[in-house]
Assembly symmetry: C2
Homo-oligomer: 231 residues x 2
DNA sequence: GCCAATGTTTGCGCTGTGTCAAAGATGACA
DNA sequence: TGTCATCTTTGACACAGCGCAAACATTGGC
């Protein structure tokens, strides 16, 4: 399958790589189509590959011992994921599930050290990427520690609109099927509470909901909810 | 000031470095004594140095816009911290405060790329360290999403006993001054709730409390509380 | 040895959210 | 076009945990 080289180039991890090295890198890649509902890898499985999402959308989930599920993050096109082995883990800590028809590039994890050796800047940039992810995680912890549910949901929806928004009519539509349950698992609450909150927002004209659908009509209004201390 | 080289060697980040390089590395270091209550760096300040804790104990905190504080993590001897610049940040995301008399090695951040160039394995190992930190962050998110306060506190206390425990009498004492407020800020609750929980535990003989003091008397009992689904 | 500062405990009332339950909506598929 | 599975909405209720407030304990300084 033909690989979109300019897309790969646009990723921080690869933007400084020489053309020759990039070709070599892509030469080892396998392109894989992932239909909706299929997992790229599953929690606990041996980490045999690392991946780059070219197209589509994934959600990375974890299941706790007592069966509760949370969404760790959403993978967008251009994101590297399934890093586990590079981080000294032998298995994947979560499951990566396609929520939209997706295409991912796959490399055997053994190649990671080789590529790093050949291209030291790679490791630096990769570390920066992980650093950002760490920061996001801390942001989430801070939110969960200090904010009540409605503000957390507002932040989560704004983030989604930012990362996966597509203009539609007068608003911005989240560009993949997303349920209240999903939003609940991203914010640490229940689908019932999310449903109530979204209903209230819809009554205020902030969003438009629907089955697995969410359109933000008033970004500023939502941002006010997210930032403002309640009065 | 004399630097304890064997302590430095014991840190994953440095264990594979050649002796010559290590000497060079340490040659550029400044050793700094940090009395209790003093900050090594403050949130928002320019990230001029990165650090290695040789002795003592720090807590890394963040303050939200609306003035609430959370404890991001506790820094133990041997931990690298104040990484910001290596992760492509120009300022420190939090404040590192000494909760015990501490000694830290300091390097100017400019040296980081040099050391990485000279020693590519360094970047790989550093990434593994960050990876672990990311995992811890996700663990915390998972706990905050799915567990009620008492279990979260139990987990936090067990973690502290593990990382900073010193045998004392029949129990394990957390080896630095820690307040209920601190524990609250680590688990996303209030000091009042923490106080109530600890009182209850003390009545059950699980722990022994005190002013800025905490001794775990029954690790297994606590672990049961942390793991077991309440019955 | 007393005082001030700081940390801890405890009671009480309130409310945000989870839990349980049941009734719509929506879309896929036959 | 009807059926079924899935998702969403809404109500009723309970309670964990927060906010507020006041008393109590410990420590260090003078």
């Amino acid at each position: 399958m033909k690989i979109d080289k300019s897309l790969v180039r646009s990723i921080p991890l690869f933007d400084r790589m020489s053309d020759a090295d990039l070709d070599k890198f892509l030469g080892h890649a396998i392109s894989r189509r992932v239909p909706v509902g299929e997992a790229v890898f599953e929690q606990g499985a041996a980490a045999t590959h690392f991946f780059l999402l070219l197209h589509g959308r994934l959600k990375v989930t974890q299941v706790t011992e007592d069966g509760q599920q949370i969404i760790v993050r959403v993978v967008h096109p251009g994101d590297l994921f399934g890093f586990a082995k590079a981080l000294q883990r032998s298995d994947y800590p979560g499951t990566a599930l396609a929520v939209a028809e997706s295409i991912a590039l796959c490399w055997p994890t053994e190649l990671w050290p080789q590529f790093v050796d050949r291209n030291p800047r790679l490791a630096v940039t990769a570390m920066q990427t992980i650093g950002q992810r760490l920061e996001e995680a801390h942001t989430r912890i801070r939110e969960m520690s200090t904010q009540e549910v409605e503000r957390r949901v507002a932040h989560a929806v704004l983030r989604l609109a930012n990362q996966a928004g597509r203009k539609e009519g007068s608003g911005v539509r989240i560009d993949f099927p997303i349920s209240r349950q999903d939003i609940a698992e991203m914010t640490g609450t229940t689908l019932h509470t999310v449903s109530r909150i979204l209903s209230a927002w819809e009554a205020k004209g902030l969003v438009e909901g629907g089955r697995q659908k969410l359109i933000v009509l008033d970004i500023n209004g939502l941002a006010a909810l997210a930032d403002h201390v309640k009065e």
